[in-house]
Symmetry: C2
Subunit: 385 residues, 2 copies
Amino acid sequence: MRPVAILGIGQTQVDEHWEKSLREIGGEAIFAAMNDAGLEKADALYVGNMLSPLVNGQNQLGTFFSDWAGLWHKEAVKVEAACGSGAAAFRAALMAVASGEVEVAIALGVEKMTDKSGRDVTAALATAADADYEVEQGVSFVGLNALIMRRYMYEYGWKHADFAPFSINAHANAVHNPYARLRESITLEQFEKSAMVATPINLLDASPIGDGAAAAVLVPAEKVNALPGRPRVLVTGSASATDTIAVHSRRDPLFLSAAYQSARRAYQMAGVGADEIDVFELHDAFSIMSALSLEACGFAERGQGPRLGLEDQIRVGGRIPVCTRGGLKARGHPVGATGMYQIVEVVQQLRGECGPTQVDGARIGMAQNIGGSGATILTHILAVG
Amino acid sequence: MRPVAILGIGQTQVDEHWEKSLREIGGEAIFAAMNDAGLEKADALYVGNMLSPLVNGQNQLGTFFSDWAGLWHKEAVKVEAACGSGAAAFRAALMAVASGEVEVAIALGVEKMTDKSGRDVTAALATAADADYEVEQGVSFVGLNALIMRRYMYEYGWKHADFAPFSINAHANAVHNPYARLRESITLEQFEKSAMVATPINLLDASPIGDGAAAAVLVPAEKVNALPGRPRVLVTGSASATDTIAVHSRRDPLFLSAAYQSARRAYQMAGVGADEIDVFELHDAFSIMSALSLEACGFAERGQGPRLGLEDQIRVGGRIPVCTRGGLKARGHPVGATGMYQIVEVVQQLRGECGPTQVDGARIGMAQNIGGSGATILTHILAVG
């Protein structure tokens, strides 16, 4: 397969965009990415989205957006892997260009989910879990994560406040990201006093949903030159791995084996190890997921993920900066779009465009996107090259 | 890209499978295909499905089925292109193997849609159309096709009975397909007296929905040998093309330009022309679509599709046999699965497994799968080689 570069990126602010349609939000990101790439057309469009049939009454989003973007007669398709849909679309676009089938591919992650009530959206999000064996028992998506967090705290002896640094770091970084939904810092006291959602997960352990879209333009690396002040960003690692869809079916529900597998393969493909990653956009849908992701990807020992936060290693300047643009927690989690926000943010870091939250000299970045409660996990490694 | 072969196929009967779950139906097809291929594992699974979030309350079908099939830690994803989802999954699997990323890929098309009321399913199917500009006006999916058919009859001077041969041929062939939903022949008189659905489309112009799944195992061609009595089936052409999602946005709503584009590219890739196709599994969701597909793919002049039926050219033994296993009309149309049924049926023809509806000496077959009212169209060419 031939090397692939990311030529352009685009994103909309994550927010409640009641004044804009699904079409307009996705279009904004596509046009921004094409503009950033300096291109007016593309050969194919891969759209990541989870909820549009349920929330927007719209299927066939590939063609829906290729039509809106003027890409008539081109290839277009939607890919879905619950909250991992964004990275799944990126991987589909990557394969299309890497294989030689397509010269210019656009990957779009898009979600417009605030048009419905919280109750409806909670029910829609539950479709990521096992309908027969999890949802049928009445457990919600946050409920599943709460069960995992409770067990983790019990097994490894952590108290709730030990998870605070993940959320505090995400919020602190989001202040400097104009595309973030929650641009406000939080304190430990706020974290501890926040309203309970599903014990032990409170409001500041959980990421907010939102409407948003992010996109990237992928082309063969050989067609891209580094520009003054803008390095060439290559996709050096990509892997997708799955686990059982139901949490209770796992031999060890406290280990993200799909994260381990996809990170392992991505490291191998990129020829790097965890210690060479300069920045890591991880999938902090809930604070417990930050800990589990860091452990599965080799940044912490089993059960020791929270220590990285407590020891200040996850901030910009630390050993492994995470959620440098706010993460799911504060940039926001428009579910099917999130994976593409992560990719766009890693590109921003490698280009040196992150202002106060720029990781000095970042040359290798990683993004990990999770569908379901650890069921589908995609890891991508990008590098200046 | 490297050449790819289809090593195994599997399918379930299209029917109202109230006694089986979504999981069981899809699993049946996967296991049948793996058994047919003589393999016990695979590297990746690509699932085509349209309605599971709406009808089954289940998303993330890639992982849902890889879990059920015991493909833990493997890659899995769902692709969706409305009724074109099956072929879109096949194309994703094809790209994965052709690119060298994957050695053994399974493509599954699956749909379980009869658990809900006809009213609910009609609303769910409408998500294939443009929610803002078509569905909002109250037009259903069959309504859109009825508008196209009415205009076509007016423009080219055909009467309703001229479309009868498409349905009569499909039903006659389905009699010999144990996997078909409607295994009964129909007469011209029945066709003319059938109950009206959306004028001019009556019940025998329209394909029945159903529950079903079909799957194929794809591997590098170099790893497959022809067996005694079972030729090697290669994928020689594959293309996907889109049109505007809304019918009213098209310059010419009576020409399937996405079918023309995807067929043109598939012919080019396969190095064949329309006159070399021995069998064509087309997307006869409604009889009008048979006519439009035949015209766009070069088998008939503009406006002359019905003539092929009236002149007996679409039957087995005719110039271009279509729907040899019953087509959508009589095999049934489990929407996200249909594209994979078509692929499986073309493989059966090339293997010579079709009994009374076998096309003698078939060596090159084509399958065309349509999402929406001509919005996303995928064409595949398979050949003995």
